[in-house]
């Protein structure tokens, strides 16, 4: 169902800044002259629940949701959530994920343990997989909280959009005092 449309999925845990990242993506695509649609569910998914946001761009986009199995890129903010949504990707799709583990309630309570071998499992199914140590790189850029921007940079590298639109979108969406660090973090991610 792609028909000239690029499908991106952003997944992670409520409160991780997924909504902002998907807004920056959308803004970039609009600035680059594309039709864009984006969709996510709020409400109960806040407060630490599992979150997925869909962004689609192309000449003309109809549905705001990515049909299952049609995602081009899965942009993961946390490893367990990255694994959870792999079936949204098309065969041969790309995964860019943060090397971060956040325990869920049953794990916190010691009823289950954080699953092992996630990284290997993802790589086995999707060889085009980039695992990013977002927090380490972001600290190098000046603030560990800019990890999402590092990842955004890494994702940007895999899309055919002029760098200037990314930087313009960042400038528009990131508060002025955090802009320089985020610019740096973005370019660091982009060089991966």
């Amino acid at each position: 169902m792609s028909g000239g449309i690029t499908n991106i999925l952003l997944v992670g845990v409520g409160g991780q800044g997924i909504l902002l990242a998907s807004e920056i993506l959308s803004e970039t695509f609009m600035l680059a002259g594309f039709d864009v649609k984006k969709s996510e569910i709020h409400g109960m998914s806040q407060r630490g629940g599992s979150v997925v946001s869909h962004v689609r761009y192309g000449k003309e986009v109809f549905s705001p949701i990515v049909p299952e199995g049609q995602g081009d890129i899965l942009f993961g903010f946390e490893l367990m959530e990255t694994s959870r949504y792999l079936s949204l990707l098309k065969p041969g799709g790309t995964v860019v994920a943060n090397d971060l583990r956040i325990a869920s309630p049953s794990i916190l309570m010691g009823k289950e343990s954080y699953p092992e071998g996630l990284v290997e499992g993802i790589r086995e199914q999707f060889p085009d997989f980039l695992l990013v140590d977002g927090h380490k790189l972001a600290s190098e850029a000046g603030n560990a909280r800019a990890a999402n921007t590092v990842l955004l940079g890494a994702v940007s590298k895999r899309l055919d959009i002029d760098e200037k639109f990314w930087l313009e979108a960042l400038q528009k969406m990131v508060p002025p005092k955090a802009l320089e660090i985020n610019r740096k973090a973005f370019l660091m991610g982009r060089s991966l």
């Binding site: 984006k38 199995g69 694994s83 079936s87 869920s104």
Partner: protein, 592 residues
């Protein structure tokens, strides 16, 4: 100028461009952000009401005064507002009045998935249904015009997908030259006594048939002829899915879903070989098309329950053997077996200690709608019922009417401050009036937390963030006639347990009010900054007592110590001190 807006943002913009003067709502997902965006336009007087009925009544007053008014709510909110709505249909409007109902197919954050198109039909009010953000803006503007032109409130229906999806929108300048609001007396139209109302009813019927006729030539009802072997009638988000799955099929896209433009539907039916309807939830269009005597396929193949998606539509048509859909290549990924990740109350949430205590006391808890509904989840597991806003109080009274006096002692209703003022207060009046032995706990965190921290009459601030009078909850309960009102600090477990136990035992109506704000309210400094708690590795014997409060900051580390140990994540801990009170071995302490 172009911008990327959500459906909700676009509705707010549309209201501004239409010259709307008043916007009023009770917050409810997925409608909440509409009012959070109308505050960006100084021309609009925006406010939260204590419930949807009041919100609509405020909008009605503004309209009668000659100003354009917007009222927004989630689907279940219309149940609360239905009383004034049905009569508003008779009075009609003065300034345009638009009522937004944000429905939630799939129940992403709701207790049922009612299809509010039925309300438009039931209340005899026209309903528009946009299918993306651009249409949200355009249809809002149009809805105000139609409202004045046909002297009727107009409903605008969105669904979660439309409210919370973003797409590109073209902005325009606001309209000018609207009449200045002023008091107009017209009792024959605005006072609905039987004599007057009888005169109005035929006008309502007349108005609806005029609208049905006009619908045939309204640009928002769009006939798109492509391949004519399949013709699909659709509206809202489903239109986008149909275009995605059947790019070649002919479509009749309905922008007005009530009343239906029958001439246009007949015209479309005569041009295509086979007629389908793709609509979410009820067979609303389908039943009416069938009643017109036309053959149409809809719910025989499509599900009634849940949200439609491109793949659900594609699969349904494929299963029925109907060709023409673009088939998705299926994913190769194995569905992973992973621990679920449900939402959880925040670290430092004032509700946690109360639910822990209710669980310990084996209370039968009638619950309500708010963050505290999460008290249902393990390990707190302290909620036994949840039906609708405000229902917990009445349900507690009801349960005590039938169970033994021993069991009556167990019954406790919980309700938030916002929900209490929404419709819980009525239940409390009944509780006192009929002398129920149940206990009510008002979880006053001074905010409407679940929908994202909206102010309410008990928070002391308006939607515009101006300080205002704060409802005195103890005094209010007293005025209702409650004799036993206790305030507790929910972070003090011993006091919390003692007071709840005492009031549970009391065979009279009683109210306990918790007195600590939601941890997410920015203006309140709840806890001393920089203090977090720490598990002393030597002292922790691995008894797991602290895990029973389910704080997201406390993690079980099975590999450590003889039996494993608890660990507190300093980045998440707020220093609320609740877990420390659970550790019998004094292994949890403060660290700076």
């Amino acid at each position: 100028m172009k911008e990327i807006l959500s459906g909700n943002e676009a509705i707010a913009r549309g209201a501004y461009e239409a010259g709307c003067r008043v916007a009023c709502a009770y917050p409810g997902t997925p409608s909440t952000e509409i009012l959070e965006n109308t505050i960006n336009y100084k021309e609009i007087n925006s406010s939260w009401a204590p419930n949807e009925k009041v919100a609509l009544e405020v909008a009605i007053g503004a309209s009668f005064g000659g100003g354009r008014a917007l009222c927004t709510m989630k689907h279940v909110g219309v149940n609360v507002a239905a009383d004034p709505l049905f009569t508003l249909s008779y009075t009609g409007v003065n300034g345009g009045l638009v009522l937004v109902t944000a429905d939630d197919p799939e129940m992403h954050s709701s207790q049922n998935e009612q299809d509010n198109r039925n309300y438009a039909k039931f209340a005899k009010v026209p309903m528009l249904e946009p299918s993306d953000s651009e249409e949200c803006l355009q249809f809002t503007r149009l809805a105000f015009e139609l409202s004045e032109q046909y002297d009727t409130p107009v409903m605008l229906r969105t669904t979660t997908r439309i409210s919370h999806s973003k797409s590109v929108v073209e902005l325009a300048e606001p309209v000018t030259g609207l009449p200045q609001p002023q008091l107009v007396r017209n009792a024959a139209k605005l006072v609905m006594l039987p004599g007057n109302a009888r005169v109005r009813h035929p006008l309502v019927e007349e108005r609806m048939s005029k609208l049905a006729e006009a619908g045939a030539s309204m640009a928002i009802n769009r006939l798109e002829l492509r391949d004519t072997s399949i013709g699909i009638i659709t509206s809202g988000a489903c239109y986008q899915y149909v275009r995605e799955v059947f790019p070649e099929a002919s479509t009749l896209k309905l922008g007005m879903v009530h009343p239906l433009p029958q001439t246009l539907i007949r015209d479309f039916a005569s041009r295509v070989e086979r007629l389908f309807v793709v609509e979410e939830l009820d067979p609303f269009i389908e039943d009416q098309v069938k009643a017109m005597g036309l053959a149409i396929t809809g719910k025989e193949i499509l599900p009634i329950c849940g949200e439609l998606t491109p793949e659900r539509i594609q699969k349904a048509f494929a299963a029925a053997g109907i060709q023409g859909a673009i088939v998705a290549s299926s994913s190769t990924a194995e569905p992973a077996k992973l621990p679920p990740r449900p939402p959880n109350m925040c670290p430092g949430c004032p509700h946690r200690g109360v639910f822990y205590t209710l669980n310990q006391l084996k209370a039968y808890v009638t619950g309500d709608i708010g963050c505290y509904t999460l008290g249902f989840m393990p390990p707190l597991s302290a909620m036994d019922t949840c039906v609708c806003m405000g229902a917990s109080v009445g349900m507690a009274t009801g349960v005590t009417k039938v169970v033994s006096s021993e069991e009556q002692k167990k019954v406790v209703a919980v309700i938030g401050d916002s929900t209490f003022l929404h419709t819980g207060i009525n239940g409390l009046m009944d509780m006192v009036y009929n002398q129920s032995p149940a206990t009510l706990i008002i979880l006053d965190n001074r905010i409407t937390a679940m929908t994202g921290r909206q102010d309410n009459p008990a928070s002391g601030f308006t939607l515009m963030d101006d300080p205002t009078h704060r409802v005195d909850l103890p005094l209010l309960c007293k005025a209702v006639g409650v004799q036993h009102i206790r305030l507790i600090d929910p972070f003090d477990l011993e006091q919390t347990r003692k007071v709840i136990q005492e009031e549970m035992n009391r065979p009279e109506p009683s109210v306990i009010i918790t007195d600590k704000p939601c941890v997410l309210i920015k203006r309140e400094g709840v806890f001393e900054k920089g203090i977090v708690l720490e598990v002393d590795e030597e002292g922790c014997v691995g008894c797991r007592a602290c895990l029973k409060i389910g704080c997201p900051a406390i993690e079980w580390r099975p590999g450590e110590g003889q039996r494993g140990k608890a660990y507190i994540e300093p980045l998440l801990c707020t220093g609320c001190d609740v877990c420390r009170q659970l550790c019998k071995f004094n292994a949890i302490g403060r660290s700076k």
